[in-house]
């Protein structure tokens, strides 16, 4: 299999030259300087490496870059629009959800995927969807609160 030479990331085509068996996480971080997604466990258990591929959250530490093809990748760096944060980023700031925040990018990408699929999630739905993301510092309650806040902001906040 030949090297991967282009990826569609955050709305633009990016060139690279990566062996296809390398992880998407390492290509994003080391080749494209998109370091928002983090290594946490290497086995898809902690969610720190979560990015979206065609809107679906995936564990980029376990995804070979050769499997991506023309699909559209969204990373934490691609959420801001014209200097405006995604409602979930904004909500997390308002709630003060993080301490060390190493988990933040993965949490946000998972949360964005949830809101994309289900704009009005109930608390049990949030817990079920987010259960693969580990935070070691803060209680998870504030992230749940922020997802609810972002959902309500998206519903009525921006008219």
């Amino acid at each position: 299999m030949s090297n991967v030479t282009s990826l569609h990331v955050n709305g633009t085509g990016r060139t690279c030259d990566a062996a296809p068996e390398r992880s998407l996480l390492s290509v994003l971080r080391d080749d494209l300087a998109l370091t928002g997604a983090k290594y946490g466990c290497g086995e898809g258990q902690c969610g720190a490496c979560t990015v979206l591929v065609d809107g679906v959250p995936i564990r980029s530490c376990q995804t070979p870059v050769g499997a991506i093809g023309p699909q559209k990748i969204t990373t934490i760096e691609g959420l801001e629009r014209d200097g405006r944060l995604h409602p979930l980023q904004q909500a997390l700031l308002e709630v003060g959800a993080f301490q060390c925040a190493y988990c933040a990018s993965g949490m946000i990408m998972s949360g964005v995927a949830l809101l994309g699929k289900n704009p009005n999630p109930t608390e049990p739905e949030i817990i079920r969807f987010m259960d693969g993301n580990i935070c070691r510092c803060a209680g998870y309650g504030r992230i749940i609160d922020a997802i609810k806040l972002a959902a309500s902001a998206a519903k009525g906040g921006t008219q």
Partner: protein, 719 residues
Amino acid sequence: MKAGKSSAERVTVQTIDRPATERPWAVAAPWSRREFVKAFTGGMAVLWLVDLPRARAAQAESGSSGRRGGQRRPTALAAWLHIAADGTVTLFSGKAEVGQNVRTSLTACVAEELATPLASIRAVLADTSLVPYDAGTFGSRSTPDMVPQIRRVAATAREALVDLAAKKWSVGRDTLSAADGKIRHATSNRAIGYGELTRGEKFVLDVSDSVRLKPATDWKVLGTSVRKVDARRYVTGQHAYAVDISRPGMLHGRVLRPAAFGATLASLDASGAEAMRGVTVVRDGNFVGVTAATEHVAAQAVAALRAEWKTAPQVSERDLFAHLRSTARNAPAADASDPTTPGASRQTYTVAYIAHTPLEPRAAVAEWQGEQLTVWTGSQRPFGVHGELVQAFRLPDKSVRVIVPDTGSGYGGKHSGEAAVEAARLARAAGKPVKLVWTREEEFTWAYFRPAGVIDIASSVAADGRLMRWEYHNYNSGGAGLRALYDVPDRKEEYHGAQSPLRQGSYRALASTANHFARETHIDELARSLKLDPVEFRLKNLRDPRARAVLEAAARAFGWGQSTRRDGRGDGRGIGIALGFEKAGYVATCAEVAIDKATGKVRVVRVVESFECGAILNPDHLKNQIEGCIVQGLGGALFEAIRFENGHILNPRFSQYRVPRFSDTPAIQVVLLDRKDLTSAGAGEAPIVGIAPAVGNAIFDASGIRLRSLPLVPNGLKV
């Protein structure tokens, strides 16, 4: 730059990530007042000086034992503040930000006392070439030690600025006020910015210990929920942790780990790895590592190494507690009291080793320029890592620079500099900068653990519920939190060090978690044996008014009196309480559990925790710390345990070592008691000590089953 002659002779570490203009002195971090004054280039600087003979002597291995009698004038810099001509205020401290929000609290201290907007203040932390020496960020010491001093530093600057304005305008200083980064003279409606007042001058002041600090009741910034500094950078993925640092030409490293703890390398065949393109294999004694252009190739190269290791048999988990007892120092003679005496009780409690599992594993980027070494790494002890590097490579102090970017947490687990030393070895051999990120498996195996321990308690209570005797022995887990808050006429509380089969070290609240688990479980047992309410029993034996206050506050908020206690009738719900004191903070924790009788699954459904640590600096951040302590503490309470056998860790992955997740999180209510009349204590540790005993006591309440080992229910409750 107006560097003095002797300063210019010294080596200047290249400033890599910050322009030199941000350093108002000309050389690598000055550690003494004399050096500082020589190198200072302009503006106003306020220095906090300490007598640091022991710490610095230890660091430099100078052999001089410091104190030679008499009161010495402090000369070592411990922190300082700079006001530049443009009004920018910069604080320099050796503390490290690891998620506890010390960057925010120190910034707020400056804003409060200097009367300047938060946005005008920058805190430079944990860069050994930019900040003064600091022993490290641990033990909840930043708040009691650094906070009051930074406040004095800022207040000294404020008073000096008032003096300058009074002189400039020839007015009385009591007609002036400081606010929003300006000194104002209300009667003449004049105002002048701090930067303008110091422009073109060099003021170097020492902190005045007599300077007036604002009382907590007058605080406008401290005591309020200031948001995390730089929070936006974290939610946009912009903050660069150590793992995110990249250098031109940088390679990726990987280390070959021994087959077991203590193993020595018998033979190595590196030919397969060396044949791989761009791979360098580094061997130095038992250390074997590789560098390669990508992480992937580095991992393949390590996998291609053929090594034989010499191992020796080691203690396994099944023999752990007997081993700790048999190797204990100054172990007491067998308890001679008669256990059949009415009111007498004797029990043993145990705690397992657990891992910190900071989400950012140990990581470092090392870069050599000749004999100059710069290392970026996540750490709670930047100068400790600095010392390790100086020692490992036999370099002069000033040839090593350790930069600690705000770090992906530590919980007491990042006191050591393994990754930094390894990355530096690899970088030196490869002749290029090297990044080394420990895998999760390495972090689980080759870091250090919270100590396991055995605790024996022998006690007796009078029929009226008064504690009469309390004899307490902790084997191996540690002495923190050893002493009970309760009043007992006949008491003995001892810690006995032992030989730990695993490498052990600090963990949030140290042994206080183990000691509170044993003590507060035992107290619950005594209360139940006397058929006394656990809150009532504690209050009966407790005079300390602050302890009584948190206990009563938690019980009230929880609805303790109104809750129906089940007393082991086994309908699946139960409640428990625990009281604690650690690092000058008082805590009481109430928990409610629900047990699924069919599966034995224990769920903590509700926690109320009250906390009092003096005057609160930031209510929301304090609340966040407490919530985090409760959730993290649930892991060690319910299911976390490091499994090990003969020098191997058996569960070094998140798929095998369970940590709390969203679905484990109870409803949490935090009750803060703000004592503005008392000094602020650190709050990163104390709030974790009560959750395990509260949950254990609740499980007993629900099921009648008394659990005396942590974790309580790694495989569910056998009902």
